[in-house]
């Protein structure tokens, strides 16, 4: 478990907009060990999906390094990148729009095999697609079905089968269960845990749903407005959240139980715009314990306890 598979160093992604430079991801570093699941949580617009996409170079990173098994993804040319994509794949959020409506289940799952010229014979190709369908729990009879004939859960299974087609070692899961009903969500989550165990996969699990992230992750990173504010072992994060934003986020989750009532920290206002952000801590404007230094200096992510990182001036004192 200790061997590092993916390492992200000082990753930045800025977008040029009419209003100015949008800091979607601003200097984020983390690493994921082989077979580990890192959960990436945060609210809309905090840059979590951008990180996932920048790792795969679906967005060109502005600067920074992404090392997968020692290879710097950001420096590869088109040909090399295509080859590396065999090792890393992504499952998208919306199973309704991420599948080609004119391709059957068979064609959708088989497409990556054709692009990468994996299978030598037609028989081998067909066999591989059928094996993949079995792996993700899609019934044989659906092989010629089109996306519109499938419900959300099944579509997401097609998306997962597609991502697994090339036997990758690393998967970015971008809100894979958000569009699904709870009963189906549980089925898909269990499937992903099983696949990880069976195939030794490494996951970057992106979600805004804290209870889902907690369920599936080994470690969790909390994002706010393009910055990573806390990174910790899953248990420690829930037992001892350090950053004021993490505290507020955890307290805001409605709990489906009557026996637990907790103090809720209500945040004032909205997430500010990531266009030309003010200097200092990004959370300063909504933070209840904001100090003078917070408006001037950006806090760095620091190891407060072994394996538990937080970026806040309060903790440094």
């Amino acid at each position: 478990m200790s061997e590092t598979l993916l390492e992200v160093k000082h990753l930045k992604k800025y977008f040029n907009t009419k209003a100015g430079l949008l800091h979607a991801v601003d200097d984020v570093s983390f690493s994921i060990a082989k077979g580990e699941t890192l959960g990436l949580v945060g609210e809309s617009g905090c840059g979590k999906s951008t990180i996932g996409r920048a790792i795969l170079r679906l967005h060109e990173p502005t600067s920074g390094e992404v090392l997968l098994d020692g290879t710097d993804v950001t420096k590869l040319n088109k040909q090399e990148l295509r080859e590396l994509r065999r090792k890393m794949q992504i499952v998208f959020q919306d199973p309704y729009s991420s599948l080609d409506g004119r391709k059957s289940v068979f064609e959708s799952i088989g497409e990556p095999l054709i692009i990468q010229k994996i299978c030598k014979t037609k028989e081998e190709y067909e066999k591989r697609v059928h094996t993949l369908m079995e792996t993700v729990g899609l019934a044989e009879r659906l092989v010629n079905a089109y996306p519109h004939e499938l419900d959300g859960g099944r579509r997401q299974r097609v998306g997962i089968a597609r991502a697994l087609a090339l036997n990758p070692s690393f998967l970015v899961l971008d809100e894979p269960v958000s569009a699904l009903d709870v009963s189906i969500q549980a089925q898909v989550l269990n499937l992903m845990q099983k696949l990880q165990k069976d195939m030794g996969l490494t996951y970057l699990f992106i979600s805004h749903n804290l209870s889902v992230v907690k369920h599936i992750s080994d470690r969790i990173a909390v994002m706010y407005l393009g910055r990573m504010v806390e990174l910790s072992d899953c248990k420690a994060l829930f037992a001892n959240p350090m950053h004021p934003y993490t505290k507020a986020l955890l307290s805001a989750v409605p709990i489906p139980r009557l026996d637990v009532r907790k103090e809720r920290i209500l945040l004032e206002g909205d997430v500010p715009s990531p266009v030309n952000p003010a200097p200092g801590c990004r959370f300063a404007g909504r933070c209840a314990s904001c100090m003078e230094i917070c408006r001037k200096e950006q806090p760095e992510l620091r190891e407060v306890e072994p394996g538990h990182f937080a970026a806040c001036h309060l903790i440094e004192q």
Binding site: Q185, A186, L249, P256, R264
Partner: protein, 328 residues
């Protein structure tokens, strides 16, 4: 809190009729609500939650929708029998609705104050100026600075837009409020703000409310009574305590088992097997029996009736009838 019933739905059946099939969206539904109470209507996609409340508002698209039978009594008056002109006087004044998606439920070419004033002018005799003043007061009530009333919806964030929608729904001080997944489109910290606001306003104005949601966490926080819907029917009904502490129906139990719990360590979720049934071709007997781990032969044949397992707690399940719910 008076014990008089404000809303009573009796045997409501709604179908959607298309060229080759009939969708049984809501079947034989009974529900009632007293003044000042909040009812949570819980279920998955396609359970018929939104269809039910849209029937109350009489905003179902007819055709294809068809209210086959039933009565919806509001203050003793059957809404389904009212002419549209009368209904218009009730909508927005007596009964208001908050829709799921604040991004699409506001008019993009009117300022938000104009939109709120429009409701007020429609129902109350007052000048444009007075209506505008009241609209700004409403904005202040939901925590938006009144001077922002002259802004257009696109200038607001999602949470703010939902506040505007809430202000509009409450502008004429309705006695009954329908909230259709009011926070689903919002982030958790913003959701917390909106829920706090709704709790506060509910306490202040004693408005009765039906809250549609699929999030049992929100139910635990805001609802007095809960109705669990599955495939067009209410399978369990009771107080919040009944549903959370003495869960009766296997479907409700399944719902609880498949939510990851933030407080405990669990290795695997227990999903409900299978899928929600096709509403054009519902299973015979209990609609949940193909997915139910406790299904018996009787469940496949006979449709279960509502059974009161304790005072005020109803469960539509054969097993609940035959010997309590311990074995379920």
């Amino acid at each position: 809190m008076s014990s008089e019933k404000l809303l009573e739905i009796k045997n409501l059946t709604v179908h959607f009729e298309s060229f080759d099939a009939t969708v049984h969206a809501v079947e034989n539904l009974n529900l009632s609500l007293r003044h000042g109470e909040t009812l949570g209507l819980v279920g998955e996609t396609g359970a018929g939650k939104t269809t039910t409340v849209k029937s109350v508002m009489r905003i179902l698209p007819e055709p294809p929708a068809k209210i086959v039978s039933g009565e919806i009594l509001f203050d003793g008056q059957d809404l389904l029998k009212l002419p549209i002109k009368e209904m218009r006087k009730i909508r927005g004044k007596q009964i208001s609705m908050i829709f799921q998606d604040p991004m699409t439920s506001l008019n993009p070419v009117m300022t938000v104050a104009e939109q709120i004033a429009e409701v007020i002018r429609l129902h109350e005799k007052c000048s444009k100026k007075e209506a505008h003043k009241k609209a700004c007061d409403m904005l202040e009530l939901v925590g938006i600075r009144p001077e922002r009333g002259s802004d257009y919806p696109h200038q607001f964030s999602g949470g703010m837009k939902q506040r505007v929608v809430i202000a509009m729904a409450l502008a004429c001080n309705p006695r009954f409020l329908i909230a259709d997944e009011p926070t689903t489109a919002l982030d958790v910290t913003i959701q917390a703000q909106v829920l706090e606001l709704m709790k506060k306003l509910k306490a202040q104005y004693q408005t009765a409310m039906v809250m549609i949601t699929h999030d049992l966490g929100i139910v635990a926080e805001i609802c007095d009574y809960v109705a669990i819907m599955y495939a067009g029917e209410i399978v369990e009904y009771g107080t919040r305590e009944h549903i959370f502490n003495h869960t009766g129906h296997p479907y409700t139990k399944g719902l609880f088992a498949c939510i990851p719990d933030i407080f405990t360590e669990q290795n695997e979720l227990v999903p409900i097997n299978g899928l929600t049934p096709d509403p054009t071709d519902l299973p015979v007997g209990c609609r949940f029996h193909p997915r139910c781990p406790y299904a018996t032969e009787q469940c496949a044949k006979e449709h279960p009736a509502n059974f009161e397992i304790e005072p005020g707690h109803y469960v539509a399940c054969h097993l609940a009838r035959s010997g309590g719910n311990d074995n379920v």
